[in-house]
Amino acid sequence: MHQIRIHGRGGQGVVTAAELIAIAAFKEGRIAQAFPAFGVERTGAPIEAFSRIDQRPIRTREQVNEPDILIIQDPTLIGTVNLTRGSTKKTVAIINTSKDKKEIGLDLPSENIHTVDATKIALEKIGRNIVNTTILGAFAKVTGLVSLDSLKQAIREKFKGKGKEIIEKNIKAIEESYIKNF
C-alpha cells in the first residue's frame, strides 16, 4: 500500500488534490481511498488530506500517520506544522517552493526532497495561485504512482462542472510541472 499525506491551507484545494490522486489510481485499476482531516473550517488554516493506493480493498480509516509520500503545497507551513511526523528514511517529499531544497529546512534526507515552483507555474498557466493540481504533475513524475494521462482524466472528471477552459488550464499546469527533471 502507498500512503500519501498532503499538507496545505484551507482554500488551496488540499482535499481536491487527495481526491484527484485517488481517482487517477482507480482509473489505472487499483483500489484507492482519499479523505480529509479538516481543522477549523476557515481559509488559511493548516489542513491535511490523505490518499491510499493498493491492489486490494483498503479497510483502515486511520489518518496517514506514516506517509510514504508527502506533498507540501505551502512552504510557509514549514516550522509551524510538524510536516514530517511519522516519516521514515524512505519518505519522499514533493514541495512547492522557489528555494533550493537545502535552504528550506525540511527534516528529511536531501535526496528524498523534490522541489517544484508550483506557484510560478500556477500563476503562468492558470492565472491564480492555486497549486493543488499543478504540484500533482511533479508527484506523478517523482513517484510514478499514477500516470500523467490518468491525472488528466481525473481532472476532466472532477472539474466537469467547472468548464473546459479551467480544465485545460489545469492540465497545462500539471504538464508543466511534470516536464521538470527531478
Binding site: 483500489i31 480509516r61 486511520e62 500517520n65
Partner: protein, 403 residues
C-alpha cells in the same frame, strides 16, 4: 443482473445517487455538517431535472422532520438526512414518526454533540434517539451504506417502521472510495413503488386519524406492540438482506471483494478465527481499522488459526439489538472488548452496556467497555492493538483510549 462496474465516489455522493435511484416522492432537509453534501447533491439532481421528487429546504431540522412526517402520513415515500444537533432538534418528531408507524428513511451522518461544539465524527448523536422506535443500521463503508439505504426502504415500507442508516461523518461522508451504485431499474425490481395500504395513510376519500390520543387504557398496548414489532423485525431484516444479496450480488465485483469474512448476515458480521481469545465488538467505519489491527495481531497464518487470536464482531443492526444471534459468537471468546464511539455519560459505552445486558448469565467472558474517537479523534491501529492487549484486564468502568 448484468455486472455494473464500480466507480470512485465521495461517500455522500454515493448515498445521494442511491437515494435518487430509489426515487422518493418527497425530500426535506436542513443543511448541517457533515451531512450537507448528501442533501446538496439531492437538491442539485432536482434542479438539473434529473429527479422527480419534491425537494423542500426546511427552515430547521425540526421542520424538515415534520415535513417528511406529514408527507409520509399522506402516503409518500420520503427521505431526510441530518447530523448531531440537527438530530437532537428533530428528536420530538423522531419519536412521533415511530409512534405513528411511518416508513420514514433517514441518513444520520454521525457527528459529536455540543458542548463543547465539535463538527467532527463520533456516534454520540444517534444514541440520543436509540429508544425512539426506529430500526438503526450502521454501515462500515460506502458500499454497505448504499446497500443499507435500499434495504432500509424495503424494511420500512414492509414493516411500517422508520429506518435510520448511520454513516460516520467525514470518515465516510467525505471519503472517496470504490463503490457500485445500483441502477434505478434494478432497485425497482427489489423495491417496488410505494403503495400504502388503505386505512394506513391520510386519504380524503377514506379518512383516518394518525397519531391519535391514547389514554391509560390503550397507550401501554400500543407501545408494547411497537416494541414487539421491532423485536420481530430481526427476522425480516435477515430475510431481506439475503434477498438483496441475491439480486444485487455486489460482492461479485473483484475490486470490492473481501472474501475473508467468515460469517456475514443481515444482522452482524464475524471476521476471525473460530475460537478466538479476544473478540472486539463495534459498529460503523471503525470496523475497517479494527480488521486491519486484528490481522496484524493474528499474523500471517490468519484464518488457519483455530484457537487464539482476535475476532471482530461487527454489529450492523443496533436497534432492534440482535441479542440471541450474537450470543453464540460472543461465547467463543475468553475476553470481549466493546469499542464505542460514544459514552453513555455516567455509565458505559452504549453498545457495551447493551451487550452486557444481552449476555447476562449466557457467557463467561467479562465484557469491557472502551471508548474511542470522540469528537473526531483519529482512531489508529495502534490504539486497537492496545485495546486487544488490555481486553483481559478490564474493570467495570469505561476506558477512554485517546492515544
Amino acid at each position: 443482473m448484468p455486472q455494473i462496474k464500480s466507480q470512485i465516489l465521495e461517500g455522500s455522493h454515493a448515498i445521494a445517487l442511491t437515494v435518487k435511484n430509489i426515487a422518493p416522492d418527497v425530500i426535506s432537509a436542513y443543511p448541517i455538517t457533515p451531512q450537507t453534501h448528501i442533501v446538496e447533491d439531492l437538491a442539485k439532481f432536482k434542479a438539473d431535472g434529473q429527479a422527480g421528487y419534491e425537494f423542500l429546504r426546511a427552515e430547521s431540522e425540526f421542520a424538515a422532520a415534520s415535513i417528511v412526517l406529514g408527507a409520509s402520513a399522506a402516503g409518500s415515500r420520503v427521505y431526510t438526512a441530518t447530523s448531531s444537533q440537527g438530530l437532537l432538534l428533530m428528536t420530538e418528531v423522531v419519536y412521533n414518526i415511530a409512534g405513528m408507524r411511518l416508513p420514514v428513511v433517514m441518513t444520520c451522518a454521525n457527528r459529536a454533540v455540543s458542548a463543547p461544539i465539535n463538527i467532527w465524527n463520533d456516534q454520540q448523536d444517534v444514541h440520543a434517539v436509540s429508544h425512539a422506535g426506529w430500526i438503526l443500521l450502521f454501515a462500515e463503508n460506502s458500499q454497505e451504506a448504499v446497500d443499507q439505504h435500499i434495504l432500509a426502504y424495503k424494511l420500512a415500507e414492509q414493516l411500517r417502521l422508520p429506518v435510520m442508516v448511520n454513516v460516520d461523518g467525514f470518515t465516510m461522508t467525505h471519503t472517496y472510495e470504490p463503490v457500485i451504485i445500483p441502477e434505478a431499474a434494478a432497485i425497482k425490481k427489489y423495491l417496488p413503488a410505494f403503495k400504502p395500504r388503505a386505512g394506513e395513510f391520510l386519504d380524503p376519500t377514506d379518512p383516518v386519524t394518525l397519531g391519535a390520543f391514547a389514554g391509560p387504557a390503550s397507550y401501554m398496548e400500543i407501545r408494547e406492540e411497537l416494541h414487539k414489532d421491532l423485536r420481530n423485525s430481526l427476522e425480516t431484516i435477515e430475510k431481506e438482506y439475503q434477498k438483496f444479496n441475491k439480486i444485487f450480488n455486489q460482492k461479485g465485483d473483484p475490486q470490492l471483494e473481501d472474501q475473508r469474512s467468515k460469517i456475514d448476515n443481515g444482522l452482524f458480521e464475524y471476521y476471525g478465527p473460530k475460537k478466538p481469545k479476544t473478540i472486539l465488538v463495534a459498529m460503523g467505519s471503525v470496523i475497517g481499522t479494527i480488521k486491519e489491527a486484528a490481522d496484524k495481531i493474528n499474523g500471517s497464518s490468519r484464518f488457519n488459526l483455530l484457537k487464539g487470536g482476535v475476532g471482530v464482531l461487527k454489529i450492523k443492526v443496533f436497534r432492534p439489538l440482535p441479542s440471541s444471534a450474537i450470543i453464540p459468537i460472543l461465547k467463543r471468546a475468553k475476553y470481549i472488548a466493546v469499542i464505542d464511539k460514544a459514552i453513555g455519560l455516567g455509565h458505559l459505552g452504549p453498545l457495551a452496556s447493551d451487550l452486557k445486558a444481552a449476555a447476562q448469565g449466557k457467557i463467561k467472558a467479562k465484557i469491557g467497555s472502551f471508548v474511542v474517537g470522540l469528537g473526531g479523534r483519529d482512531i489508529t491501529e495502534e490504539m486497537i492493538i492496545k485495546i486487544i492487549r488490555e481486553a483481559g484486564k478490564v474493570g467495570d468502568e469505561a476506558r477512554f483510549v485517546g492515544k
